[in-house]
Amino acid sequence: MTVRPIQYETVDGLKVVMSVRTWKRPDDELMESMAKLYGSEDYADMTIKYGKGKQRSAHRAIMCSRSEFFKCALKGGFKEASTGEIDLSADDAEAVDHMLYYIYHNKYPDPKRCTSNRESKHRESQMSCGDYWLLEGPREPHNMSPSFMAAAAEYNRRRELASQHEHSAESGLNDEKPSASRRVRFSENEGRDVKGEEHPETGAESSAQSEGVTHVHVYAIAEKYGLEGLKTLARQRFKDDLPILMKSSKFPEICHAVFETTIQTDRGLRDLVVQAFRAQLELHKDKKIRRMLNKTPDLALELYDMLCPFVPLHGSGHRS
């Protein structure tokens, strides 16, 4: 349990001093210590090379238990086992970054922020403690005075605004958490999805557009290395951003990537794309889309199948 005094000044110039007690959840403790290991040299016994000359230390115990790929590579017989080096430079560097972050945090970071954070390691480690307790929020809001509630809400709002410009604030997000933390999340989602006072529409859209391909790459790499959870997260992000992506000029590129990087039976992203086409029949007229379809026969075929839903092909996977 931690007790921390908070000094805070309201808009009316009222000074509030309060102390917040928080009880740490065991799950959080685990997540925190995992996060501390992320990128750390401590106990590290392997290296992952990726991108253009990047490399990151990692831990066999963690990597191998999360992904069968790493287990097979390191369990003996092959060269990787003796050198402790795995070269992933053939994969998209950004996607590898996301994957490693996920393995240690069980989270899918906001792609853009993560990119900006990549260089400053110390800030990441600060983040895990710095913002953590706050987003945890008071556990039992009904035990607290209304004035405290008001103050806390105000405080949260400000922190949130500040954090958007600084660094990832979402590290503490968790669906089960009541009160403040959830509120923070809702406001953020609303902002990104549609209007949102805090988020200028243009900013949100541009970031979402650039992230679209990343989601696809992360999804692919998760599939390649057998990380089902990461697939779920990537797909959710992709789905959330899809309305914006569809309007974006990069949509053809994204569609192409989806169908190039997934196998036919993996319906996670493919179905979303096909549904998008169904919902947005005007896409049919788009020249860039047509050009893309030309190069992406799988998608073309599936769209065609969509037109004839009542003529069943053999089996559900309808392979050739």
Binding site: G77, F78, D266
Partner: protein
């Protein structure tokens, strides 16, 4: 501008991740080289990531099927070319047994050759497993997607099955048609046979080969039923084992005795269990056990049990350990252990019959030799002999019981069923129809102990004696017969004060009460009660007489026992039943007076009761004065003796008070004046005039027999060593009955049984109103079972008699014979 960017991005972004065309052949040749390196243990420089990426891409580009079949084909070729020749290198014809005529190879050479072959095969297999697990690792993505989606076995499983097809089930060489699997089985079986013969073999090596056979299945699916181990090896194994043990059982039986055979069989069974654990598979254990048990035990147990050195021999020679082994073997194949049980039962009955015969022989040897005359004159010797036979019988039976209890505890693990069977066998010979004296003997045994046996014993010792009697009593079926005998013997003991301790008597009764129930002992207890009441009665009569005032110095003291006629077995006491119509004996005046006095006194107390005097059971103390007559030893003085005689003897002696010294009385005269029944008179005269130590009368002529014409004189010259002399009455003790007596006893017993059965029938019918014949018989049997076991014919007779007397009627037209109760 935006379009331009898009176009640019659509281009394969990096390293062909999105390139739609994949050159399968070039990638496959790359993979194939790598796989070959893996198989030749040369993989340390291979980069897993690279291989994985290639395999992943191939599958991603819908070439999963090609990859799958290429890997399979590659493995097939590898196995059938490289590996098979390697296996052949380890093959040598020496390793097989019975290879035609050239059995020049010694066992050791054969074992070495076999081990070499097994080792080669085992190494090929484990190497194949290691390599395939690496190759399968490379192809995980294919397994996860292509194989999974098409429900194909994983590449690893496929490769394992290829090993089965291309190695195990292929001929060893092109010339030799025998498949490797067949050779493998032969070699393993041969090695096991060597171990059975006492060699040491490499169990670990065989176990590895068994693991291999266990992990492969005939059809390729995962079911356990058709694993190669089960369908191929195990079948052969069980078959050869069966043949081996069948041969061995015969050989061992021929050469050794039953005990050794049991030890051997036990060891073999244990060995096979151990072999399953250490060398083969545990799942074989029940099957091979079945085989060994079949061949060594089930098929041979009867023979072993009945051998000269079988169960009888073991029982007679206290071979507890061997018996225990035999019992365990039998228990393996038969929960009821019926073969051993049967042999034990037969032995018990045989030994029991021996005891019975010995007892009968002992009891009959005496009367058989001398004629009628001798029988009467030497009754006491006979009595002793018969009693001794009875006691010996009881002790022998108890010894037998102790022995078998011991066997049961030591060898049969206190098996319940065995105990029941043994109890049944004991009951069988104890209740054998050839030996009808059980009840009598047991009662005699108790009688003997009550009179003499328990003298000077501690309470605990007495207790064990009594318990022994109870143990035997449990076996006795006809409890009512026992009761009859016991009553008779008890009656004598009580009236003649023969019993050493009343306490012990009561203890016995209470033990019987626990064992046989209240019903059984009520009459016995009533007898004790009569005795106590009589004591009080005697005391109060004495007081009463004293109260009368006239002090008569010659007063006779009367001790009396009033016996309830229904409780006491008076008819067994001798003459009363015969002399129903006769007058009772004439008492001397003095005695008669006091007798009448008591009758008056008793009638005052209990009016309406009839007293019947049983003089034949009484005794009297009389003071006798023998005058100064010259003795044989020359002394010349008056002698006084206190004589304890029977009531009849007292009457006789008092008769002589009035007879002058030189006068005599004939037998006829005595009989006429006393009215004592003749049989009793003869007995009493015998004891007074014939028995050498108590010859108070002189008989003429001096023979042992008493004839009606004999004359009797008072023996003035009688000289006893002691002041007090007890004149025993001949044959008044408890003894074994003669055959005639027993027939009577049984007849009486049957009569009382008839009442019991009738009572039971009426009770049952009263409750049921209507009942089928067979059911009625059954219920009647169970009702009276505690007392005795009636013949069914007897029950039928009773039913008929009840119908005659209109207690029951037959139900007309009923399907089965049925009766109705008539209220």
């Amino acid at each position: 501008m935006i379009a331009g960017r898009g176009k640019q991005r659509i281009r394969p972004p990096r390293r062909g991740l999105a390139s739609s065309a994949v050159d399968f052949d070039s990638i496959w040749s790359l993979l194939e080289t790598a796989f070959r390196q893996i198989h030749t243990s040369n993989a340390s420089q291979l980069l897993y990531e690279e291989l994985y990426r290639h395999a992943y891409q191939v599958v991603l580009k819908k070439k999963g099927e090609e990859l799958y079949s290429s890997v399979s084909r590659f493995e097939h070729e590898w196995l059938s070319e490289d590996v098979r020749s390697e296996i052949y290198a380890h093959y040598s014809p020496q390793m097989l047994p019975h290879t035609q005529a050239l059995t020049t190879s010694t066992a050791t050479e054969r074992r070495m050759a076999g081990e070499k072959f097994l080792k080669g095969l085992k190494e090929a297999w484990s190497h194949h497993q290691v390599c395939m697990s690496m190759i399968a690792d490379v192809c995980i993505y294919m397994d996860r997607t292509y194989c999974n989606d098409n429900r194909l076995p994983s590449i690893y499983t496929t490769a394992m099955n290829l090993f089965r097809d291309d190695i195990l089930q292929s001929p060893i060489t092109t010339n030799d048609n025998r498949p490797v699997l067949h050779l493998l089985n032969q070699v393993i079986l041969d090695q096991i046979q060597m171990e059975r013969d006492g060699d040491v073999i490499d169990k670990h090596l065989i176990k590895s080969c068994v693991y291999m056979l266990e992990s492969l299945s005939e059809s390729g699916d995962e079911s356990k039923a058709d694993r190669l181990y089960n369908v191929s090896f195990e079948v052969d194994y069980l078959e050869t084992s069966r043949a081996f043990y069948s041969r061995e059982a015969d050989a061992v039986l021929r050469d050794t005795d039953a005990g050794t055979y049991c030890k051997h069989a036990g060891r073999r069974i244990y060995e096979e269990e151990d072999r399953c654990r250490s060398t083969l598979a545990e799942s074989t254990m029940p099957k091979i056990q079945q085989v060994v048990e079949d061949e060594l035990v089930r098929n041979k147990i009867v023979e072993v049990v009945d051998m000269d050195s079988g169960v009888w021999f073991m029982l007679d020679n206290d071979r507890f350990e061997e018996l225990s082994l035999l019992y365990n073997l039998n228990a393996r194949v038969d929960d009821r252990k019926s073969v051993v049980t049967r042999a034990v039962q037969q032995r018990i009955v045989a030994l029991g019959d021996d005891i019975n015969k010995a007892a009968l022989a002992a009891s009959q040897s005496a009367p058989a030799a001398p004629g009628d005359a001798a029988e009467k004159s030497k009754p006491s010797a006979q009595t002793n002999q018969q009693t001794a036979a009875a006691i010996k019988w009881v002790e022998d039976v108890l010894a037998l019981k102790d022995k078998f209890d011991m066997v049961w505890k030591e060898s049969f693990q206190q098996d319940n069923m065995m105990q029941t069977a043994m109890t049944r066998s004991f009951a069988d010979f104890i209740n054998s129809t050839n030996f009808p004296r059980t009840s009598e003997y047991i009662s005699l045994f108790i009688d003997e102990n009550m009179k003499k046996g328990i003298k000077g014993k501690t309470e605990a010792e007495i207790d064990t004696v009594l318990d022994k009697a109870i143990i035997l009593l449990r076996y006795v079926q006809d409890k009512d017969l026992f009761e009859r005998y016991y009553k008779k013997h008890l009656c004598r003991r009580l009236l003649m004060n023969k019993s050493i301790s009343n306490e012990v008597e009561k203890q016995m009764i209470s033990k019987m009460k626990i064992e046989l129930g209240n019903n059984f002992t009520t009459k016995l207890e009533a007898m004790f009660k009569d005795m106590t009441i009589s004591e009080e009665l005697t005391a109060s009569f004495k007081k009463h007489v004293e109260g009368l005032g006239d002090k008569d110095p010659r007063r006779i003291e009367l001790g009396i026992n009033v016996l309830t006629s229904m409780t006491w077995p008076l008819e067994t006491m001798g003459s009363m039943d015969e002399g129903e119509g006769k007058q009772s004996a004439v008492f001397p005046v003095a005695v008669d007076r006091i007798k009448q006095g008591f009758e008056k006194f008793y009638n005052l107390k209990h009016s309406g009761r009839q007293l019947k005097w049983l003089a034949n059971m009484g005794s009297a103390d009389i003071k006798a004065v023998f005058p100064k007559v010259a003795q044989k030893d020359g002394s010349f003085k008056e002698r006084r003796h206190e004589l304890n005689v029977s009531t009849y003897a007292m009457i006789i002696l008092i008769l002589f008070n009035d007879v002058p010294t030189d006068q005599h009385l004939t037998f006829e005269e005595i009989h006429a004046r006393t009215n004592i029944p003749k049989a009793d008179l003869i007995r009493n005269l015998q004891s007074l005039a014939v028995a050498p130590k108590t010859r108070i009368l002189i008989k003429e002529p001096m023979t042992k027999d008493v004839k009606p014409t004999d004359k009797f004189f008072f023996n003035e010259g009688f000289n006893g060593k002691f002041v007090k002399i007890k004149v025993g009455v001949v044959s008044s003790g408890n003894k074994v009955e003669s055959d005639r007596e027993r027939r009577e006893t049984e007849k009486k017993n049957d009569n009382s049984r008839a009442f019991c059965v009738e009572a039971a029938i009426v009770r049952i019918m009263k409750q049921r109103k209507e009942l089928a014949h067979s059911q009625l018989v059954m219920e009647t049997l169970s009702q009276v079972a505690a007392q005795f076991k009636p013949e069914v014919s007897m029950i039928k007779k009773r039913i008929d008699s009840l119908i005659e007397r209109e207690y029951l009627e037959r139900i007309e037209g009923a399907k089965v014979d049925s009766y109705r109760y008539l209220a």
